[in-house]
């Protein structure tokens, strides 16, 4: 059933009239043109579709649109602040924490939540926190290093 869904997307208010049972992933990618959020498995196994909903890492492939009514959604396109990349984005670049780059938006957004919970994470906390995000190229080692580097860079911010 079509309904009016209002939420904040990357800091700006949006209104979408759509079937509220449609998954957020497709509304973001197709209706709103934000293709940085990726389809990887469609069943919450891989984390490629991760976005932040009220600062929580959320699999948009299994999140009905109506669930974000009145909430704040951040996608990879909205992580930079006035053109200034987030420390996580810089750390992923500087640490070569990606190869094909397809899992990268989901990795970065999940790491964002991780650093909220653990501003000074141990390696074990990073591994546990990121365990549900899959990467096939095998960039895991450098993703851990990038998250550590970002945590350092964010100290005192």
């Amino acid at each position: 059933m079509e309904e009016l869904i209002k939420f904040t997307l990357n800091g700006k208010p949006v209104e979408v009239t759509a079937d509220g049972d449609r998954m957020l992933l497709w509304v973001l990618r197709v209706d709103l043109g934000l293709t940085g959020t990726k389809y990887g498995c469609g069943e919450s196994y891989c984390g490629a579709c991760t976005v932040l909903v009220d600062e929580k890492a959320t699999h948009s492939c299994m999140t009905p649109l109506k669930m974000v009514q009145g909430k704040s959604v951040v996608t990879i396109e909205g992580l930079a602040n006035n053109g200034e990349m987030h420390p996580l984005q810089r750390a992923f670049m500087e640490n070569d924490a990606l190869q094909c780059g397809y899992c990268t938006p989901g990795m970065i957004l999940h790491a964002y939540e991780l650093l909220k919970k653990h501003p000074n994470p141990t390696e074990g906390e990073i591994v546990n926190g990121m365990e549900q995000n899959l990467c096939r190229c095998g960039a895991h080692k450098r993703i851990i290093e990038a998250i550590q580097a970002a945590a350092q860079a964010m100290k005192g911010v």
Binding site: W26, E77, Q99, C100
Partner: protein, 714 residues
């Protein structure tokens, strides 16, 4: 300017000269200087398909603004050639790395290329690319000499500006030299290349050039291409590769507003402006199928594969096998099994196609854009010249995106509905239509003499193929046969498609060979590193193995020592590699956990040490999957793994401590770097498991159940 007969040809003349009858892709480059060159050979099968130039298949362009572009049919899929190729070009041409643009895989802009695979881009591509860049530098130096009125030997170049060595104020930039020019020159190969001590950019670690787009979400993959009026298609799929459709009712799908249903022979699809609505419509289609019963599954497949295997091809032989067998003090007859593996890139196959009249524009996730172009042209019945393929970023390939079925489907549907169409496979479709790494069997009979030296080696590989089948040890009597190809399928062999999977064949062959070597070392009561060194005469391999042992802190002990240390060696794509691993085995469950991997590689000259290291790390991490867990479950042609719930790929918690070493061999030709390290992972872990608990697992993946089973027999 007339210094050389090659220099005054305009592009049109040059094109006529090389019989390039298709529309001029050089037009798009505008003025400037072009160096045409040949990368490796153009295969004969490529030449027959369409008029192709036979003397070049890539070119570099120095534009009138001084920017330099490399036009190549290769593509970037995460392996980093977008960076390493640019490094080679910038260094030989003496320009800044950030003034180099890469134009890759676009079939209208780039010369024909068969595809990106086999760790070929750097090793085959490197020498001619460097030669072409050096030639470009030579041309520009000659022009600068004329312009400045100074002899070329008194000039030098830095960052794209030619200076008089004795007076830096006397200078002219590449941009100024290229301005107003229309020069095309074929590389003569006569320009001298830089020697490693002259490198400024090659051999220097450089971070990825495409990282910014990838961390900001701007990088466009095939499914991210959205055209006005585009429809998203979902295609009806059979339950098994052996299924025949017996009935079809699409009326339920037609009732959904805005859904278009297309039926064209085997192709039944629903299309909608939203992919999720198309998905919903697909569930409304009713279809029945006849699926013949099959008793083939992941357990019975090996007997079947042996039954249908052809006579082998001899890959290598020396000495007299029969004599070796009769004189051996101890013999070891073993059979190794390896299951099917999925490529499982994070990006499933996707393509956008827009067919208008007899012209097609396609954006596919593809490792092989030029073959895709030919296939689409054949399918649509239009000339190849009318098909323009632009490969976007590719979200992982590993060999799996050499097959372009999704691009053909998108083109067919676009033609049928008259609108742009996106076909983006679901994860289930990705598993179903993957060209899997083939299940395979290796039978080895080998023996030791009375002094514990290898005396004979009789090796038969079934369906993995020749790559990596030939051993590199000193064995006086040896014979190697490959039965059946590891590529593609002969009907009746596999119940679904098989194909090239990162270092095709070599993962299976190296697992079997290195396990067998370990079995003999253990039987001889000799430390497995020492045993290998005793049987190695190849200096390159000796060096990587010794370096690995040193880095690991290896102390000699015959296996099983209880330490959980394993070793494996291998060769792939011209590169020698050795790995040593530490594994912990849970004796109650049999579960093996890899704690540490040291990997050493001699890959000749390394263009981007950072990129090469990352490829090694990626190989080690990805290799944990095929070694420990990944295995396709199936019943006949029905693939039972449909998502990552049952098909487990490596996760963060699997990650061992990884240490990599690249041997400094800068004076040797560059070799492959994207695949070699992965081949050692099965063998090194199997051997470490044996060292830990004395259990020899003969089948990959080395699952907890199989380790436990082997422990009972040990």
């Amino acid at each position: 300017m007339r210094q050389n007969s090659d220099l005054d040809l305009d592009f049109t003349d040059r094109l006529a000269d090389i019989q390039f009858s298709r529309r001029s892709f050089l037009k798009v480059t505008g003025g400037g200087i072009i160096i045409l060159f040949l990368l490796g050979d153009i295969p004969a099968w490529g030449q027959g398909r369409q008029p192709l130039p036979t003397d070049f298949n890539a070119f570099l362009h120095i534009a009138e603004d001084g920017r330099v572009s490399l036009y190549t049919g290769k593509i970037e899929m995460g392996q980093g050639v977008v960076t390493s190729l640019a490094q080679m070009l910038a260094d030989e041409l003496d320009v800044a790395l950030d003034s180099v643009d890469m134009v890759m895989g676009d079939t209208d802009l780039c010369p024909w290329d068969m595809g990106t695979f086999g760790s070929m881009s750097t090793r085959s591509f490197g020498p001619p690319l460097r030669a072409a860049a050096a030639e470009g530098r030579l041309v520009l130096m000659e022009m600068a000499a004329a312009k400045l009125g100074k002899p070329a030997d008194q000039l030098t170049v830095e960052g794209g500006v030619v200076y008089l060595k004795s007076d830096k104020s006397v200078k002219v930039s590449y941009a100024e030299l290229a301005k107003g020019q229309k020069i095309a020159r074929k590389a003569s190969g006569k320009a001298p290349l830089k020697t490693p001590d002259q490198f400024k950019i090659m051999g220097t670690p450089v971070t990825r050039r495409d990282a910014r787009e990838k961390v900001t979400g701007k990088a466009k993959y095939a499914a991210d291409i959205q055209l006005p009026g585009m429809l998203y298609a979902r295609i009806l799929r059979p339950p098994s590769h052996a299924s025949k459709r017996t009935s079809l009712d699409v009326s339920g799908a037609r009732q959904i507003a805005g859904v278009e249903v297309i039926e064209d022979g085997d192709l039944v699809a629903v299309l909608h402006k939203y992919p999720d609505v198309a998905e919903k419509a697909l569930t409304k289609i009713r279809a029945t199928y006849d699926t013949p019963a099959s008793d083939l599954n992941e357990k019975t497949i090996f007997d079947h594969l042996l039954k249908v295997a052809p006579q082998g091809n001899s890959v290598g032989r020396n000495g007299d096998i029969q004599k070796g067998k009769s004189e051996a003090a101890k013999t070891f007859e073993m059979t190794y099994l390896d299951g099917y593996r999925a490529h499982a890139p994070m990006e499933p196959h996707a393509a956008v196609a827009n067919v208008e009249g007899n012209k097609a524009r396609v954006w596919p996730s593809s490792q092989t854009p030029f073959p895709a172009k030919d296939e689409i042209a054949r399918t649509l019945g239009i000339p190849p010249a009318n098909v323009h393929i632009t490969p976007p970023f590719v979200g992982g390939g590993f060999g799996g995106k050499s097959v372009n079925q999704q691009a053909v489907e998108a083109a067919r549907l676009s033609k049928l509905c008259g609108k742009p169409v996106q076909v983006a496979w679901t994860r289930e479709e990705e598993f179903f239509y993957d060209a899997f790494r083939p299940a395979a069997v290796v039978k080895i009979n080998s023996g030791l003499d009375g002094e514990g030296r290898m005396l004979f080696w009789d090796y038969h590989v079934y369906w993995a193929g020749e790559r990596g089948a030939q051993h590199f040890y000193t064995i006086p009597n040896s014979s190697t046969f490959a039965h059946g190809s590891g590529w593609g399928t002969q009907p009746g062999t596999h119940p679904f498609a098989t194909g090239a999977w990162r270092a095709p064949g070599n993962n299976t062959n190296t697992f079997a060979r290195e396990s067998q070597i370990d079995i003999m070392a253990s039987a001889a009561g000799v430390d497995p590193v020492e045993f290998r060194l005793k049987h190695l005469s190849n200096a390159k391999m000796q060096r990587v193995l010794k370096t690995a042992a040193e880095k690991f802190g290896w102390t000699p002990a015959a296996a099983p020592s209880g330490r959980g240390f394993g070793v494996a060696c291998g060769t792939d794509a011209g590169t020698s590699v050795a790995a040593i691993a530490e594994v912990e085995v849970n004796k109650a469950t049999g579960k093996a956990t890899v704690k540490r991997v040291v990997c050493v590689q001699d890959m000749g000259l390394v263009i981007n040490p950072q990129g090469a290291t990352i490829q090694m790390e990626g190989c080690i991490t990805m290799g944990l999957g095929y070694a420990l867990a990944e295995d396709i479950h199936f019943m006949g042609g029905a693939v039972l793994d449909v998502n990552f719930g049952t098909y487990q790929i490596p996760r963060f918690s699997w990650l061992p401590k990884i240490e990599t070493v690249i041997i400094d061999a800068r004076n040797d030709a560059p070799q492959g770097g994207g695949e070699p390290a992965i081949i050692t992972m099965g063998g090194v872990i199997a051997n470490a498991i044996f060292d830990a608990v004395g259990a020899r697992v003969m089948q990959m993946p080395l699952t907890a159940d199989r380790v436990k089973e082997a422990m009972k027999k040990a």
